[in-house]
């Protein structure tokens, strides 16, 4: 038997287990957003978040994606954003912001175990995330 087979198998099983965890988050989030859309609540949410999302050049309803990403994880955020049909610029902005700060409760735990000040790191990530959102919006408007 090929000596690399156990490595391959471990990777494959990991991938399946990640996907299984992912499905449990994606399906309910996706359905919830479709229902919210169906009952016309999205306009209300959009108007409510419009002032603060405007800083990043994002439509108000994308706040739901950011919240899901910060507090749950990226898969939840993707399930929330996918049905909203945003433009490529909006997707990229959200992806950048969430790439920097996501699954904050879990990852703060990981950071703490390395011995680094976890609260400082948490604050830094949220600040960087918001900062990156503002900057990419400006850069995009100026150059792209």
């Amino acid at each position: 038997m090929n000596p690399l087979y156990p490595t391959f198998k471990r990777g494959f099983l990991n991938g399946i287990s990640i996907t299984y965890k992912m499905v449990k988050v994606i399906v309910p989030c996706y359905i919830a957003i479709e229902l919210i859309k169906h009952f016309g609540l999205i306009e209300a949410i959009s108007t409510f978040f419009k002032p603060c999302m405007g800083i990043f050049g994002l439509p108000g309803e994308s706040a739901l994606g950011l919240i899901a990403g910060y507090f749950i994880n990226l898969y939840a955020a993707i399930a929330v954003i996918a049905p909203l049909q945003l433009s490529s610029k909006d997707m990229t902005t959200i992806a950048l912001m969430l790439g920097i700060a996501h699954s904050l409760p879990i990852e703060t735990g990981v950071t703490r175990q390395t011995g680094v000040n976890a609260w400082l790191m948490l604050t830094a990530r949220v600040v960087f995330s918001l900062f990156a959102g503002i900057v990419i919006n400006l850069v995009w408007k100026l150059f792209l």
Binding site: G11, E34, I100, V110
Partner: protein, 153 residues
């Protein structure tokens, strides 16, 4: 009822797309772990991160904090990395981690991958450099005489 079924179908389709990305990645992670020592030589000295810190840095950039946590925590603890350096590594990683997976899963739903990667690398390098050079940061870690800034084992 119909709307729920449509949403269920769409969300499963999205999951299958993501599976196509995650499966090859998780398999390559395992192969990467195999050849860890080959990448230990290089370093990011200009950011204040030495050769010792390179493994956790690269692991974090490629794999990310959640799945790479084991390797990152282990390398930082066992290699006697100074607290200052550990902070810089995590600072860099806080902006730029899981760069392949995060980027690809957002590309699936329509984001621009090149802009994402470029932006995160640039931002991570600039901010880490600025903080490494900043007086406040250096004062923070130099104000404990007698302690050499190592993390207790």
């Amino acid at each position: 009822m119909e709307i729920i079924l449509v949403a269920l179908k769409d969300s499963l389709a999205l999951t299958v797309k993501l599976l196509c990305i995650i499966l090859p990645l998780s398999i390559s992670y395992e192969f990467l772990k195999h050849r860890q020592s080959a990448i230990e030589k290089k370093h990011f000295a200009f950011l204040g991160i030495s050769g010792k810190g390179f493994v956790p840095l690269v692991t974090g950039i490629i794999i990310g904090l959640t799945y790479g946590a084991g390797v990152i925590i282990y390398s930082i603890r066992t290699s006697n990395t100074s607290k200052k350096e550990a902070f810089l590594i995590l600072l860099f990683l806080s902006i730029c981690h899981a760069i392949i997976e995060d980027t690809l899963i957002f590309v699936v739903i329509g984001a621009n991958g090149l802009v994402l990667i470029g932006f995160r690398f640039a931002l991570a390098i600039i901010l880490t450099y600025l903080i490494y050079r900043s007086r406040l940061f250096n004062a923070q870690f130099d104000c404990f005489p007698g302690k050499d800034g190592r993390i207790e084992q």
